[in-house]
């Protein structure tokens, strides 16, 4: 290993050949010239803007015209100029002369280039054209007509002197531009040669064996190769269509994370389609706020609203939307918080979208805290340490100062930092305080417990102490989404990914209470479809949150939390019995075994939810029937469907038929509603971007 580093050192040392003496001499000479120029430009006043160096002739003519005041004199000058220009142009046009700039000038503009020939040309004015020109110039000897010559040369009429002056200036500029173009042409030349040489070489060496080609990397092309990407994502294969008769029960844990949407946004904004495994549809859908009815005071901590409407991508199926709205306790009544910021300060956090963004984000959030809340900061990088002892949130100066002093460096000892953060959180204690660790990282846990499973067990063990753990992901490149998900899911918390300051505002300011105050723990959803009304169904998203059927009633099985004001949306695509959209044929031998008669009820399904009040060990059960009558989908439902469609388009679109990006964009656009934060408008933009990128 160190051998390789030494090999790299030796290679780099031996790499540069001695500089080519002639190249060196040329470079030094040019540098000295440049030094000379720098001295001159430093000493001399800048040239006037209307007097570029080589504009002498035209500016001179103008000055002369300005000074000559008598009418005859003006007429005369104008005529002479007209003749001279005409004479000068004609032969030039005939010859197709190219200008000193090395650029072939377009015909109407040669005046300046040939202007120096004026003195000789003028006296021998006898060409037939010149007569006409004189005639043209004569009738009105006003100052304006002094430019008749100019007018003949350049087709655009120039009725007033000011305008003509501008034109003169323009031509003058053109002249000074010429050397620049020349330089550009020179600069291009070697590149073209390279290209030509390359083309030859390619032809000379017929396609080399592919294996060999793959192993080698051209030394000249060092720049373009992307760095090794060490991102890891957590996802599972998309849920398949289930036959109700065979498997009527679907069970999953709710998920209030939104990280997937932000990761996807950051990919698309960078011009890349996100990797399919980074797309978790439920997190995309849950990113957006919906107008679900709030729970009644004194009842369950959340309320479900269920609706059934036609699937946008399949006229013969229906979408069942289950929306859950968490209660939003009055902010003033919230219990005080013990917050431990556990901040990754490893070297990889140096980038602008990591540690600096994190500092800004926490600064935003600090403003939302109340005086009785307490904050501690623990960092981990190489070794873990407490940067800020528990401090009252009212002592803003001290907290901000500690944040400011954070600096990235060293490698990441995530586990050690976690242990310390839990210890600090436990010490903070306090009556009625809610303890929460906010882990901010780019996900690089490369020291200590590096096995995600072991970390998971550790966190699962610690969550019983009552401290919640939320994970905030920053930056891309080695974002370890899998570990982050594992930590948040097992630590009774949420995972969010912060790519911009506005995302920080959404997660840490607008939804602060939800992010920090759980109102229900271990929320599980189980739905039993009625085989009499539903032939097939499939859950869209929630692949990583699937639970076993028997886990629903087992209170020892962990599931997702709902925070204050959180919303969770789940979508099922259901195929009504007898629909032409049924994908699975009935079993040849199966029907006979199913002796139980179908429920006589016309219900679509039976929805069951289990949740625990925060800190409790036993769960409560809520049950509701779902009506089989589809209704018109409201704006929220249609928007959620559009986002679910987007997620499926990004992951293979198995069930979408020919429903494509255009349809998704139209659907989302039609369902934008009020959109006070602009999230939905942003979604439409991202869809359009994805559409272009997918082509």
């Amino acid at each position: 290993m160190t051998d390789d580093l030494e090999k790299l050192r030796a290679g780099l040392k031996a790499l540069p050949p001695d500089p080519d003496p002639s190249v060196k001499a040329a470079a030094l000479a040019r540098a000295m010239e440049s030094f000379g120029r720098a001295q001159e430009s430093a000493k001399q006043p800048r040239p006037m803007s209307d007097r570029p160096e080589r504009a002498g002739f035209l500016t001179g003519v103008r000055d002369m015209l300005n000074r000559l005041t008598t009418r005859p004199a003006l007429t005369m000058t104008a005529s002479v100029a007209a003749i001279a220009v005409a004479l000068a142009i004609y032969p030039a046009l005939q010859r197709g002369v190219s200008l000193p700039g090395g650029v072939i000038q377009p015909a109407p503009r040669p005046a300046p280039a040939n202007a120096p020939t004026l003195p000789e040309a003028a006296p021998t004015a006898s060409a037939p054209q010149s007569g006409e020109q004189i005639a043209a110039a004569k009738p009105e000897a006003s100052a304006a007509d002094a430019n008749a010559a100019e007018r003949d040369v350049a087709p655009s009429p120039a009725p007033d002197p000011a305008r003509t002056r501008d034109e003169a200036k323009a031509t003058a500029t053109l002249m000074t531009d010429a050397p620049l173009e020349e330089m550009a042409a020179e600069a291009e030349a070697p590149a073209l040669q390279d290209f030509a040489a390359g083309g030859l070489a390619r032809e000379a060496s017929p396609a080399a064996p592919a294996a060999l080609a793959a192993k080698r990397v051209a030394p000249d092309s060092i720049a373009p190769l992307p760095e090794v990407n060490t991102e890891a994502y957590s996802n599972a294969a998309a849920n398949p269509v289930k036959v109700t008769a065979e498997e009527p029960v679907s069970t999953f844990s709710i998920d209030t994370d939104t990280a997937s949407w932000s990761v996807l946004r950051s990919s698309l904004s960078n011009g890349d389609l996100p990797p399919a495994e980074a797309v978790r549809i439920e997190e995309m859908v849950n990113y957006f706020p919906y107008g679900y009815a709030a729970p009644e005071a004194g009842g369950a901590p959340f309320r479900t609203s269920v609706s059934l409407f036609q699937t946008p991508w399949n006229a013969h199926t229906e979408l069942l939307r289950i929306g859950i709205q968490g209660a939003l306790p009055a902010i003033t009544e919230r219990p005080p918080l013990n917050l431990v910021f556990l901040i990754d300060t490893s070297g990889s956090m140096q980038d602008a979208n990591k540690l600096p963004l994190l500092k800004q984000s926490f600064r935003l959030m600090l403003a939302e805290l109340r005086p009785e809340d307490r904050v501690a900061i623990v960092t981990y990088a190489g070794s873990a340490g407490t940067v800020l002892e528990p401090t009252a949130a009212s002592d803003r100066a001290r907290i901000l100062d500690a944040l400011e002093r954070l600096d990235a460096g060293g490698s990441t000892a995530g586990a050690e930092g976690l242990a310390l953060a839990y210890r600090v959180a436990e010490e903070m204690g306090g009556d009625g305080h809610v303890g929460r660790i906010l882990l901010a990282t780019d996900g690089d846990f490369n020291v200590g417990i590096s096995d995600p499973e072991a970390l998971k067990d550790y966190v699962a063990d610690k969550r019983d102490s009552g401290t919640y753990l939320s994970v905030l992901g920053f930056g891309r490149g080695n974002l370890d989404d899998a570990t982050m998900q594992a930590l948040a899911q097992n630590g009774n918390g949420t995972a969010a990914y912060i790519d911009t300051l506005s995302e920080a505002q959404k997660v840490l300011v607008d939804q602060l209470s939800g992010a920090l105050f759980p109102i229900a723990d271990d929320v599980k959803i189980q739905i039993e479809f009625n085989p009499a009304t539903v032939a097939e169904y499939r859950l869209i998203g929630y692949e990583t949150r699937a639970l076993k059927r028997e886990d629903f009633n087992n209170d020892r099985i962990d599931a997702g939390e709902i925070g204050a004001g959180h919303q969770v949306t789940a979508l099922y695509e259901v195929t009504p019995a007898g629909s032409v959209a049924v994908l699975n044929d009935p079993l040849r031998y199966g029907a006979a075994q199913d002796s139980r008669p179908a429920e006589p009820s016309g219900d679509l399904a039976w929805l069951k939810l289990r949740y625990k009040d925060p800190g409790q060990k036993t769960s409560n059960l809520i049950e509701t029937p779902v009506s089989a009558t589809p209704a018109e989908g409201d704006g929220d439902a249609r928007f959620a469907a559009a986002i679910a469609g987007m997620g499926q388009l990004l992951t293979g679109a198995t069930y979408l038929g020919d429903w494509g990006w255009d349809d998704a964009i139209a659907l989302a656009n039609g369902a934008r509603g009020e959109d006070p934060f602009g999230y939905r408008a942003e979604a439409v933009q991202l869809m359009r971007l994805a559409e272009s990128l997918a082509r």
């Binding site: 290993m1 160190t2 390789d4 580093l5 090999k7 790299l8 050192r9 290679g11 780099l12 040392k13 790499l15 540069p16 050949p17 001695d18 500089p19 080519d20 060196k24 040329a26 470079a27 030094l28 040019r30 540098a31 000295m32 440049s34 030094f35 000379g36 720098a38 001295q39 430093a42 390359g198 390619r202 060496s205 396609a207 080399a208 064996p209 060999l212 080609a213 793959a214 192993k215 080698r216 990397v217 051209a218 030394p219 000249d220 092309s221 060092i222 720049a223 373009p224 760095e227 090794v228 490893s346 070297g347 990889s348 140096q350 990088a381 600096d407 990235a408 460096g409 060293g410 490698s411």
Partner: protein, 179 residues
């Protein structure tokens, strides 16, 4: 006893032609070597060095002597290489397919370039930041502190980057072993 670089730099800024010539003569090779290590190609390095030399007179006016001249010069070189890389990236996108035939052409060249290839392949797989870091620490023998000063980051970041380089080397060696 040589006049210190810093004194020459001051003299240059004040218009001393001889001082500038002396500075150039003294440092051309150093700039060229670093440029070569940063770009990995002779023509690139020569162009880059010439650009840097030509820009030096105006750049020297903003040299405030808060760092050693060589440190400052390294920084100028690294920045110039960055700018060039950015321009190249734009051009590379414009001319699609360049990479392919280049790889094919290289594949035809004999084994003699084997060790050179290892170096190129390795450097190519490092991110630009890591490449700059190894060019300065391994190639130019700068300490981590000096490298940090040149690149304008903390020393800890350089330490992390070097551990990252080791990790990448290890990964590459492993991948190689699997081939």
């Amino acid at each position: 006893m040589q006049t210190p670089d810093e004194a020459l730099a001051t003299a240059t800024a004040n218009g001393d032609r001889e001082a500038f010539a002396a500075l150039l003569a003294r440092h051309y090779d150093r700039v060229f070597a670093l440029a070569f290590r940063l770009t990995g190609a002779r023509a690139e390095a020569e162009d880059l060095t010439q650009d840097i030399c030509c820009d030096l007179p105006s750049k020297l006016r903003s040299y405030r002597q808060d760092a050693r001249f060589t440190t400052w010069l390294y920084r100028v070189t690294v920045n110039a290489a960055h700018d060039r890389r950015r321009r190249m990236a734009t051009r590379a996108r414009a001319s699609d397919g360049w990479g392919d035939w280049e790889v094919n052409r290289r594949a035809g060249i004999a084994e003699a370039a084997e060790s050179q290839d290892w170096l190129s392949a390795t450097m190519a797989r490092l991110s630009p930041e890591l490449r700059d870091t190894v060019a300065l620490t391994l190639g130019e023998d700068l300490s981590q502190r000096e490298t940090a000063e040149v690149l304008g980051v903390s020393e800890g970041t350089i330490a992390w980057r070097m551990s990252e380089v080791k990790r990448r080397l290890r990964e590459m060696a492993r991948a190689e072993g699997m081939l």
